[in-house]
């Protein structure tokens, strides 16, 4: 039973890392392709575009941090007197879900928003931060909310004293 529980808990940690990571990779891919298109004709815009290309990458880091915390929690449970029960494993798994899904979807949509901002920057560079970055940052808010909820749930899970 404990092996299944460990599996469920690690699955949660893995989902937090790879789903948010996939989202970031897709998002950066979209924004990056748009940026290279603009840079082909206007290489002087590199600095203005850089921030918009890397913004969708933050979700991957949020997922990584949550996965790291979750693994710490799993280790604490395994080392505890009671070990890791199914209910504890499900709690860790559930804690990882907000950033896994919020990270995946928000990073892809943020990449699209950044791509639109990059196209606007090609024509109106003065709007790069005002609209390009700011609108993309609004998408980021929902990734941050997912990250915070994941973190708060993980912190709320109490681990019994060590054996």
């Amino acid at each position: 039973m404990s092996q299944i529980a460990i599996g469920i808990a690690f699955l949660g940690a893995a989902m937090a890392a790879f789903m948010a990571g996939i989202g970031s990779a897709v998002g950066i891919g979209i924004a990056g392709r748009s940026a290279t298109g603009v840079l082909t004709e206007k290489p002087e815009r590199y600095g203005q575009l850089f921030l918009q290309v890397v913004l969708p990458g933050t979700q991957g880091f949020y997922g990584f941090v949550i996965a790291f915390f979750a693994m710490g929690k799993i280790s604490d449970f395994i080392a505890s007197a009671a070990g890791l029960g199914i209910s504890d494993a499900l709690a860790v798994f559930s804690a990882c879900l907000p950033i896994a899904f919020a990270g995946l979807l928000s990073a892809i949509h943020q990449g699209k928003t950044c791509a639109a901002g990059i196209l606007m920057t090609a024509k109106r560079p003065e709007m790069a931060v005002k609209a390009g970055v700011l609108y993309a940052a609004m998408v980021e808010v929902y990734a941050v909310l997912g990250f915070l909820i994941s973190l708060l749930i993980l912190l709320a899970i109490e681990v019994p004293a060590a054996a």
């Binding site: 748009s34 206007k42 090609a122």
Partner: protein
Amino acid sequence: MPQVKLRQSILEFSTYPPVGDDDWRYAFATARVRALETQMLPRATFQDMANAQSFENALDMLSAGQYAVPKGAAGFADIEEVLLQRRAEVRELFASLMIDESIVELFKSRDDFANLRLALRRALTDKPVGADYSPSGNVAPEVLEQAFAEENYAVLPGYVRRAAEAATINYYQDKDVRRIDYEIDRLQALHNIDEARRLGSIFLDGLFRTQVDLTNIRTLLRLKFTESEQIDVFLDGGFLEPAFYKHGLDLGYEAIGNLFFATPYQHLVEVGAGYLASNKSFLKTEGQCDRHLIGLLKSTAQITAGPQPIIAYLLMKEHEIRTIRLVLTAKKNSLDTRLILDRIA
């Protein structure tokens, strides 16, 4: 390409037909044309060229950009060479950025129809077929020449062969060369719309149907002005049926605009018909039609990634080149500035 609802009606949009959805395979290409769009000549440049004191002054306004004519070569042949070079470059860029090869072939077919029109006119009026055909089509000029020389049309693609056969039959009805043009225009419009639907592109469908409507509006005003009896020349496939335009032939210039009340074309028809009635000229009609089409192409700005902005760039760039040629030709022939301003969209 995503599955989209084609066969939209004119009541489903306000000014321009919908341009469709994003296609993220085109993120790089779209960004590149957005950057290139910033190098296009603004409307003010054309107005300044039209207002220039002389042809040389108008030409000077192009000297700093991509249309600069090499120093010491200011003859019109040199200018034409630069314009053709720029057009070839933009078509090459279009072909390199477009992932869907079928769309490139569709736009290349414009040259096939133009070449066919020329070859048929010559062949049916017993003139030499010649060798001055555009090399930018899907059919190489030498293949076209060979097909006409040997009267073996099997080597031509289906759409060219069908157009050649239909135009030849149409010509022999009363041996009027204009019938060749009418038939090729009709088949070209249908070919474009059919291809757009086969490709599932709501943007191309709307674009080609709008082009058909604009051609029909021009035809309506021309037939009305010349009081021609030939009313079976309206093209099929547009948002408005040919019967709609035939009805317009019975109305006065002042009432034609109202006929288009429920369509996006009311303003352009009103302006064009009013100008035609007062000045006996189609300049405003042409200008307004160009302006409407450019408006549709500019509405692709809402697409972040997709073939639509690349197609729009190709067509806007070709329009820019045509406008430069038009203004410079007008200045060279010392045409009235007001007429040039009335014409440019």
